[in-house]
Amino acid sequence: MLARIAGLFERYGVIVAFLVLLVWNAVFAESAADFRRPENLRNILNQNAATGIVAVGMTLVIVAGGIDLAVGSVMALCGAVALVVANALALRGFGETSCVIAGLFAGLATGIACGTVNGLLVTLGRLPAFIATLGGLVGYRSITLALADAGEIRAAKTDLLGAIGRGGIPVIPSTWMESGRTLTFTWNIILFFVVAIVGQVLLSRTRYGRHLVAVGGNETAARYSAVAVDRVRLIAFVLVGLCSAIAGLMQTARMASVSSSQLGLQMELDAIAAVVIGGTSMAGGKGRIWGTVLGLLILAIINNMLVMSAVSSHWHGAVKGMIIVLAVLIQRSRRA
């Protein structure tokens, strides 16, 4: 019986942790009234959507037994390429819509290309994913810095980009809101939800997802079981590249600019933290997207809590670090 409860906790503890945090902050905490304001909750989602999108992709690679450290640099590169392409077209007199669309496609293509390179290094090049993507982390950032001369790239035209970055769909009409203003979910948030749902279905319901788990769980056994191991891993890296591109482009649209040194900085760490808290095994072969989403929200709520409290921001990292380690400790306690 006890083992059974421990097993349930290992599997669903992240839900409990999330609910406890949520209820505590929304009901009992000193700043509960501020926390549960719809605007605050929306902002939490909005601020973490990009990380979430990356974390979904990260979950897939980690389940496949890999890791991608390059996500943040890929985000920056994709944003930079998108703006460079859009600005160049704008100079040649193209309309804003075509500029933005071309830029977005260029950015997505960049993400896919980066993911492909990472994936090929791991599959054909037989490099450990950690090393291959460490190269990417350093390399893609450097290319971005070179593109932007280490500074900022601004969008030549910002109307449409701003509409994408800050627009959204209304979810709560103004009459229901205390503030009297309509609450909108940004495209950012919507995209995060879409990516998460697609990721969860991909991982748990599709043939590809089954193969991801098989490859991550035991690559040799997968190879002996007629699974195209290299193709499965390559696709995982392409998918995380695509996720990074989406996240990078959303950030770019929101700011209508790319800071070559700041965009996506340390994103790999935040994403991996969310994945790990969500109960995905770093050893591969076991993972879940919904866990990653909850892991992300746990980190986000704690961050929000810390910001609203008087705790100096210097201490935020210490708390986050503790949460990450604790989460993993609890989830593997049964195997010890």
Partner: protein, 523 residues
């Protein structure tokens, strides 16, 4: 059966070094030890034999402090002890020499011997003392090499000596040796036996686990036979012979084990291998197998059996040679292409390659041809139905097909490992199945079912290639046995006329100490 505290026959009392009473240890699904009581006399060499799963390893792990028993008692020198860890056991003089040696390869022999108890001087390792102690310990086991050599630079036999020296340096008075000769040459084995006898004469008690019956018979003072977690009997070597021991291990006459052999088919070969060459492992292998035929591949470890099979399905690139399927030359890029053409390879080493331990039984069955259950979204209900069919057909004991396959016993896992290929093989063309050590590490009941399954598959017209280290199995099942030696075909023997000697002589080039019953072979 007797409890071992008194000597059979003489009634004389001996000083008992270590005794266990009513040891019970259960693992999910199995009772590995079911009330074992056994006494080891001081200075005796006590052989422990039994099939895989009989409880040998579990018993030894309990004695070595690797795992505690569920119930029962362990007495060392008459004192009841609870061994909490390997360190704890070692402190009480019990040391285990594992089959896979437990040494740190990058450290020197001396550093390994002193590991964990380095002599220190003002907080620093006292190197000179350490080397001196190590030299003494090594000379005690008859080793002549320098203690400052790196362990990785030593031969396996020398590493084993380091391990024994390490145990003795810890004042071990009870040594557990798990298949110590599996990795040794004949000469090294002789030297090791001499050492073991010397140690026993000095009062060290030796528990000697092996599946090589001639070896156990030659070396031991007494032999205990375990079966299904119980002590079957403790015997004196002079009272028994190999076949009697084998009978005790298996619990029945060996003759009833194999299904009757069908007449060899007259069909032309379905799969033909000609002059296959794969790296250094396979130098020149040719053989054929027809529909309905069971062809055995025999050979010692390193003879190239597995490599041959892996090359056939494209898991290894071949350097030269031809593979003909239904008369047409084929070359597969991997198991998937081979599968589509009608050839499946059931790999050896079930846990590392055969199944995905963490995945469910259902998922394990459908993984080679998941596409057949849906291009993008596999139909989970249909997957389940397929798994259920195989569970019924192969009499797999599987309470919950959605549970991870690691919760099943080895025999049931192995049935799934075969089922997945049987399900995946195309039904509209001649089929070939290559089975690599399909009965390794599974219990006797499952073995018998596996034999029947193989015979059935041949009767259904599959061409079967059976790779096995267990000669009785090959002789009992196969129409022909192709014997490999060092990557070449050493000869082919007819299943009806084959004997273990005739196969072994071909496999080893000459007569060999490994002639004998190889039931219960591990690793």
């Amino acid at each position: 059966m007797h409890d071992g505290t008194t000597s059979p026959g003489t009634g004389a009392t001996f000083s008992v070094a270590l005794e266990v009473r009513d040891l019970v240890k259960s693992f999910p699904g199995t009772r590995a030890l079911d009330g074992v009581s056994l006494a080891f006399r001081r200075g005796e060499i006590h052989g422990i034999i039994g099939e895989n799963g009989a409880g040998k390893s579990t018993l030894m792990k309990i004695l070595a402090g690797v795992q505690p028993p569920d119930s029962g008692e362990v007495f060392i020198d008459g004192v009841c002890v609870h061994l909490r860890s390997v360190r704890d056991a070692l402190d009480r003089g019990v040391a285990m020499i594992h089959q896979e040696l437990n040494l740190v390869g990058d450290l020197s022999a001396a550093e390994n011997i002193a590991l964990g108890r380095e002599p220190n001087r003002f907080g620093f390792v006292a190197r000179r003392t350490m080397l001196r102690d190590a030299r003494a310990a090594l000379s005690e086991v008859g080793a002549t090499f320098s203690p400052s050599l790196r362990v990785n630079d030593l031969s396996i036999a020398a590493q084993q000596l380091v391990e024994i020296a390490k145990a003795l340096a810890c004042d071990a008075r009870f040594l557990i040796m798990d298949e110590p000769t599996a990795v040794l040459s004949e000469r090294e084995t002789t030297a090791l036996f001499a050492l073991i006898k010397r140690l026993a004469a000095r009062g060290v008690t030796i528990a000697y686990i092996s599946h090589l019956l001639p070896e156990v018979l030659a070396l031991s003072n007494r032999i205990s036979v375990l079966r299904d977690g119980k002590l079957v009997s403790t015997v004196i070597p002079s009272d028994v012979d190999e076949s009697r021991l084998a009978g005790l291990m298996v619990g029945r006459a060996l003759a009833d084990i194999f299904p009757p052999r069908a007449a060899p088919p007259r069909a032309s070969p379905l799969l033909e291998i000609r002059n296959l060459r794969v790296g250094a492992a396979v130098r020149d292998v040719s053989f054929t197998v027809a529909s309905g035929e069971i062809v055995g591949l025999a050979g010692l470890v390193g003879s190239g059996r597995t490599e041959t099979a892996e090359a056939i399905v494209g898991l290894r690139p071949r350097d030269s040679g031809t593979i003909l399927l239904s008369g047409k030359a084929v070359r597969f890029r991997g198991p998937r292409a081979a599968l589509e053409a009608g050839i499946a390879y059931v790999s050896e080493d079930r846990k590392a390659r055969g199944v995905h331990l963490a995945m469910s039984c259902v998922e394990n069955v459908t993984i080679p041809h998941l596409k057949a259950f849906g291009r993008v979204f596999p139909d989970r209900r249909r997957e389940r139905a397929t798994a259920d069919t195989w569970i019924a057909r192969l009499a797999i004991r599987c309470p919950n097909p959605r549970a991870p396959i690691r919760t099943l016993s080895g025999g049931n896992q192995q049935k799934f490992a075969v089922a997945k290929w049987l399900d995946a093989l195309p039904k509209d063309r001649p089929r070939v199945i290559l089975l690599d050590e399909p009965t390794r590490g599974i219990d006797l009941g499952a073995k018998l079912q596996m034999y029947r399954l193989i015979a059935d598959l041949a009767a259904q017209g599959l061409a079967c290639v059976l790779i096995s280290s267990e000669l009785p199995e090959l002789i009992g099942l196969c129409h022909r046995i192709v014997v490999l030696r060092a990557g070449e075909v050493a000869g082919t023997v007819d299943g009806d006329s084959a004997t273990e000697e005739s196969v072994m002589r071909l496999a080893a080039g000459v007569g060999t100490r490994r002639v004998g019953n190889e039931f219960g072979r591990t690793g």
